[in-house]
Symmetry: none
DNA sequence: TATGAATGAGGCTTCATTCAT
DNA sequence: AATGAATGAAGCCTCATTCAT
């Protein structure tokens, strides 16, 4: 019976992980199709083979699923962004590396959203941590003399705004390198000017 | 009889206009508190003294109310932005005037939003028209030689992203002039650099 | 002022009658289009130029409008049916006259109903009176020796059933004379057989 | 585990079947009391111990419930009617058997309807199939020489009209045999006359 | 742990009707 | 008498969540 149990437990573990992934994959698809607001837990369940009750063994709400998805994305993209920034030896590399990594990620990972769906951004802990990390990297770069010493909070905000706005262009098919060049030049020139003002 | 009718009509229309305003005001408050997605028509109605059915004499959905709010805002702020841009005689004036008008409007008109609520943007015709106008103004400024001839679509996106992102700082209490200076310097330097790349 | 008042009163009378007719005409059309069950008072009002409140100066519900329509129809067709029956000098004339008058009326007065609409029959007082009259005419015809002395209640029911069922064929385009011949022969032969059983 | 599952499934399905029957029984009662048009889904739910949402696990609308009821009735009565007709070796048997089966069924299965409620007929597939079957049986009987060769469509309509109209008498307490005799004689004589005209 | 039917709160909307003008 | 906006009851239906199996 011990053997049986441990075997069963092993199977169960596997199934647990699989079910979680099943739900996440279904949710990613449904969110992309309907948008977050119009998606219901039922929609997610219906996109799987699982029973409605099973959902609640893994998540407590669609918000939790959404955060898990965002966290997974952030976990996937953050190290790359961070790496691009800490290894930069010039301001140009700092910006180019960051934007290229971000736009590249967006180009690869975005799914077609419903056309008229609302645009929104939910600040999950991981996403917030991502922005905090960006700011820390900026401050570190300023300390290293890579970037001029300007207001790091505002620069973070500006970078974020431009990155997300151009990301829409990328989703619409724009070229990653062109977006990267544009954003890099904008911030290179912009931070140069800010350092003198 | 004519007098009576016109008097009656006047009274009626006054009440109607008042009710419309009542609903819009309630909706603005509830949207700010709960965010658009979590707001229901019932929430809006409950924030007024009106009966549930009355809502439908004025709007067909929360989306319609939202668009009416956005349109009203856009109508209020667009002429000012447009004016600031067409009267600019230098790139600096172009950016400074635009950002100052926008941040000033945001500082005066924003309502307290729930801190972690989703951020979203609904593209009502008026809002879209506002972006189209921005782009046309940019292109006109390029034609006038005020701005260097760079990709107007990308510049529009970047301006939009920075403006909305810094607007959050303004809502959080940041100084309008400081935000204006920062954004202006960023884009002055940025567009200068882009024109040479 | 007296003159003025009486003139006004005259106008009003006229308007009153007109409004009633307006509502009845609109109701007839809407009932035909939507069926009785799916028709609402609002639908009827919307099919007129009148205000919603005005409806209640003339009728208290759609049921009342419906009865008024049925009564008007019954009033139009009953005298003809009655006349056809009392003037009959043979059983054949009795049936032929009745059916021809009924089918002819149906052919002229039916309006296209929604295809999948429910079929229903509301027994307004006038309609009930119409059936009572049929039965009386039947009994009178039996007394005159025109019809054999069989169960008048059952004969009334059978005539009614056949008449309404064949009326559907008439509405679908069947020939009035053919339906009349068929029904007449059926009841001539049928009553003959019943008198011998 | 198999045992457990099948047991559980058995229990579940039992409850499901019971709930379905509960809803159907409640609907039959409410339809009879209020008539179809005035019945709401809520009325049906209120006539059970079930929660409002439960209704929608079984039916999507009152129309669906109604069709289920009609279909069940049609399924119950059609084979008997069909059997009575195909086994008939004379016109008299054809009519007698049909009417007796139908009136007998009505006498046993009818529920008390509100007296002045509308009478209506919804043409569910099963009901339509019932009429089609009647017509086919009639045509087959004509082919066999049992019935004279007259217009089968009109005969079907006439039989239907008389059957439903006399069924009202049965519901009101009339004797099944007497109704059967009356209807049979009517159609025996009637078809005889029609064959000669 | 998985299942999936039951639950009932709560969303949306329409409607008949009232009543101030 | 006519108007038409306001009313709120009441319909419809979906949903997140529970819980017996």
């Amino acid at each position: 019976m011990d053997v049986k149990r441990s075997y069963a437990a092993g199977r169960r573990e596997l199934t647990k992980a699989q079910n979680r992934e099943t739900i996440l994959a279904a949710a990613a698809q449904v969110f992309a199709q309907l948008g977050f607001a119009r998606t219901t837990v039922r929609d997610i369940i219906r996109a799987t083979n699982l029973a409605s009750g099973t959902f609640y063994n893994y998540f407590n709400s669609k918000e939790e699923v959404y955060q898990a998805l965002r966290d997974a994305q952030a976990l996937a993209v953050r190290p790359r962004l961070h790496q691009a920034r800490v290894s930069a030896v010039s301001a140009e590399e700092f910006f180019t590396g960051s934007f290229r990594a971000f736009f590249g990620f967006v180009a690869k990972n975005h799914t077609e959203a419903a056309p008229a769906s609302e645009r929104f951004r939910m600040d999950s802990p991981q996403v917030q941590a991502g922005f905090a990390e960006l700011r820390q990297d900026i401050e570190a770069a300023m300390a290293r003399g890579l970037l001029p010493a300007i207001d790091a909070a505002l620069l973070t905000a500006a970078l974020t705004g431009v990155a997300f706005e151009l990301a829409e262009k990328v989703k619409a098919g724009a070229n990653v390198e062109e977006m990267t060049r544009f954003a890099t030049a904008l911030f290179l020139g912009g931070t140069g000017a800010l350092s003198k003002s």
